[in-house]
Symmetry: C2
Subunit: 457 residues, 2 copies
């Protein structure tokens, strides 16, 4: 028997046969994620129903030094959950469900395979907000959200997934179960071990359960869109909102080429003239009067040149339609998209860097920029259809990521490193830090069985 046959024999001996799927019986959704990176059928798919089963599976794989790829909803964009030939995939999809909502503590205890949307809905029914929100909400699982420290739409106000997690249960590579479940905000009892696993993309342990922090439901939200003379005014307007009304629920800055496409595709009349240097769409809590007063002052100081405040939910949806042009990128473009972050004060200068270099090396390129800015993130999309064949993907990656490194930015704001960004990690991480990451990997997974080839080479 070869390695995988030996492992499989032991798994079959120890586990319920329904937990083990092989060959053609493995659903193709386990072959790749939303990035469509190199689809590969895993040798075996494991479907545990309990933490104890996860523990047994990992102990067996560790004994046989058999690589394991943990899988959630397969909605990642960095290839982090894509198997290599010979890998065993371990999907948490049968470990789904809400174990408890503790209204007094404002916490929810969930199994790792629970879908994000299920959690959002259960929180709302209990009178709370679970603020993590991303477009994959209907498919992604909380275990994957935690393992990748997902960002999304509400980071400006509520922080990353890391900030929503109070406790974890994690199975280590050797099968040890680490109970870090906790409902408390203040808890300084030794090293905060859960932090090691959040954002480690399944390379240090398999997350099986979590305690999530719930937030109060926000009050009335007003949606508005403004045109501004310059990037510095977008920073000023945000600071004024924070001081006078509170941090907005969303603050989306759009550069003109993005805005123009967004209006064109929206099918509605342009909410603001299309020839302005910058646009921002935001959602503000607080009263309509407070927002009107603030916008009047911002017009007075010149921070805002034009503004429209949605008078109805329908009008708010029409404003959002402009920003949601991103949803049609794949259908209408051949998009090469970058998930970047930069120190907030560097974002506009970075865009000028990029435009200058793209203009000189790739004349005719069509590139769009939008970002949440206050959480430091900027999305850059280049339409490969605007460039001659063969698409210069590697050269574009190098150009953009080198520019990011030059301004001390991050080559991955929220999607993670996975398989796709390993080769660009050095633009954002020093060699010493890479060494320490390898030491951590060696400590938690000395046989290197957990998601090998991901995050660190």
């Amino acid at each position: 028997m070869n390695l995988i046959e030996q492992t499989l024999a032991t798994l079959r001996y120890i586990l319920d046969s329904r937990a083990i799927v092989t060959g053609g019986a493995i659903n193709p959704r386990h072959h790749t994620d939303w990035s469509h990176y190199g689809p590969t059928c895993p040798n075996v798919l494991l479907l545990p129903r309990t933490t104890e089963e996860v523990s047994k599976m990992l102990r067996i794989c560790n004994t046989h030094k058999q690589p394991v790829v943990p899988q959630g909803g397969m909605t990642g964009l960095a290839g982090g959950s894509v198997p290599r030939a010979g890998d065993i995939a371990l999907s948490l999809e049968h470990m789904a469900g809400i174990e408890e909502i503790d209204a007094a503590a404002a916490t929810m205890t969930v199994l790792a395979g629970t879908r994000l949307e299920t959690i959002q809905q259960a929180a709302a029914e209990a009178g709370f907000l679970f603020p993590l929100d991303l477009e994959a909400r209907g498919s992604c699982q909380i275990g994957g959200n935690i393992a990748t420290n997902a960002g999304g739409n509400s980071v400006i106000r509520y922080g990353m997934t890391r900030d929503q997690v109070l406790g974890l249960e994690v199975v280590l590579a050797d099968g040890r179960v680490l109970n870090l479940m906790n409902k408390m905000i203040k808890n300084n009892t030794g090293y905060d071990l859960k932090q090691c696993f959040i954002g480690s993309e399944g390379t240090l342990g398999v997350i099986t359960r979590a305690v999530l922090k719930l937030q109060p439901l926000p009050g009335h939200v007003t949606t508005a869109m403004c045109a501004l003379p310059d990037y510095a005014n977008a920073v000023q307007l945000l600071r004024a909102l924070q001081k006078r009304i509170g941090t907005p629920q969303a603050y989306e800055v759009m550069w003109p080429a993005f805005y123009q496409i967004g209006v064109e595709w929206s099918g509605h009349a342009a909410p603001l003239p299309s020839d302005k240097p910058l646009y921002v769409l935001f959602e503000s809590t607080g009263s309509g009067e407070a927002l009107e007063a603030l916008l009047a002052d911002a017009r007075g100081t010149g921070d805002v040149t034009d503004a429209v405040v949605a008078a109805s939910p329908l009008q708010a949806r029409q404003l959002w339609k402009v920003r949601e042009a991103t949803r049609e990128f794949s259908a209408r473009f051949s998009p090469l998209s970058f998930d970047l972050s930069l120190p907030m004060g560097e974002i506009d200068a970075f865009i000028q860097d990029c435009q200058q270099q793209l203009d000189s090396r790739f004349p005719g390129h069509h590139t769009l920029y939008f970002g949440h800015i206050d959480d430091s993130s900027l999305h850059v999309t280049i339409d490969l259809n605007s460039l001659p064949e063969p698409s210069p993907v590697d050269a574009l990656n190098d150009l953009i990521y080198t520019a990011v490194g030059g301004r001390k930015g991050s080559v991955s704001a929220e999607h993670g490193i996975g398989a796709l960004k390993r080769n660009y990690l050095h633009h954002s991480v020093t060699p010493e830090a890479m060494d320490v990451m390898r030491q951590l990997k060696q400590t938690f997974d000395p046989n290197g069985i957990l998601n090998p080839g991901k995050v660190i080479a």
Copy 2:
């Protein structure tokens, strides 16, 4: 030459002589912290002025396997920075100063020895709030705040120190300098290594610089005090505040014995009758009208029985004076104080547990309770003068910490473990988690030179 003489000889050969202090020339403030735990003069005091010097010092000590105790402002309450005989103390006090305030990014870059109050003032002068705040603000240093993940007064709204840190520079035990400086909120480039060092109490590395997150200055704040029929009403009132006005800046729940002492010592008339089951003091942003309306509704539902809203800053200070009875505990009591946290829904039941057991085993005990509750923390103070000599300190520790463990609470909400709480850590941390903490310690500090004997035995 013995070990320390060899180490000292090498240090003297490599370093500026002003960086090395020995024997009687060492100021007694380096002997212990605010807990007064076993004052000990370190063998040598090192006073680096640069990260490079810290690196050289640790490399030399690591080569000679010489224990090193990192020291900040010496305001800790768990003995975490107290030397043992034979230790070398490494104080960051000469590495103080603000390197940069980046108003666009809302960040501040500081050296580890910078005092918290200096940072708060500089933030305010730049139009921002640095929300970390504790009574030691005038003496404590940000490096120590980060190393202990300090909590304090503003956690309910802004989180722990961990939530205020965007980037770190850390010197590892072997002298390697880890540059994790970062100004971005969204940054998923591999493992978030800084999390390992925050709250590790100087046992995994020495923090030398940090990038801090700044917040918008809060608007007008209204101070109010209420009497409530029951603990459940205090949770209800908090949720109503969060939904209708926003998370308060402070929310201090006082049980009757605490309130009565606070009023007596304040020297003012009681703001509310002294015979109520529970009191809460809070600071709310938002308009006075919104607060009055909310309190009227809370009286209607019975969540609040009496309320007083401060009509002036002077009256607000008088209300706070009741809560600040804690400042006089040491002068007027012989206090045995506990820094605990519990799931928010368990706090009242925990107090009943404690009172029942204390009443039966220590009749005549005088015990006071107050807590911030929404951040899960509860302070318990027993006046040892109320009990016969010799003081049953060990029995009281066992009673309280066992009760904490029984309700899945934490034996250290915010002060850390240091030397004083090591023996109680098992009430809050599983054996498997302790093992992993030891593995982390072994990874970062294989010779065990960094703050040995602290946090983990």
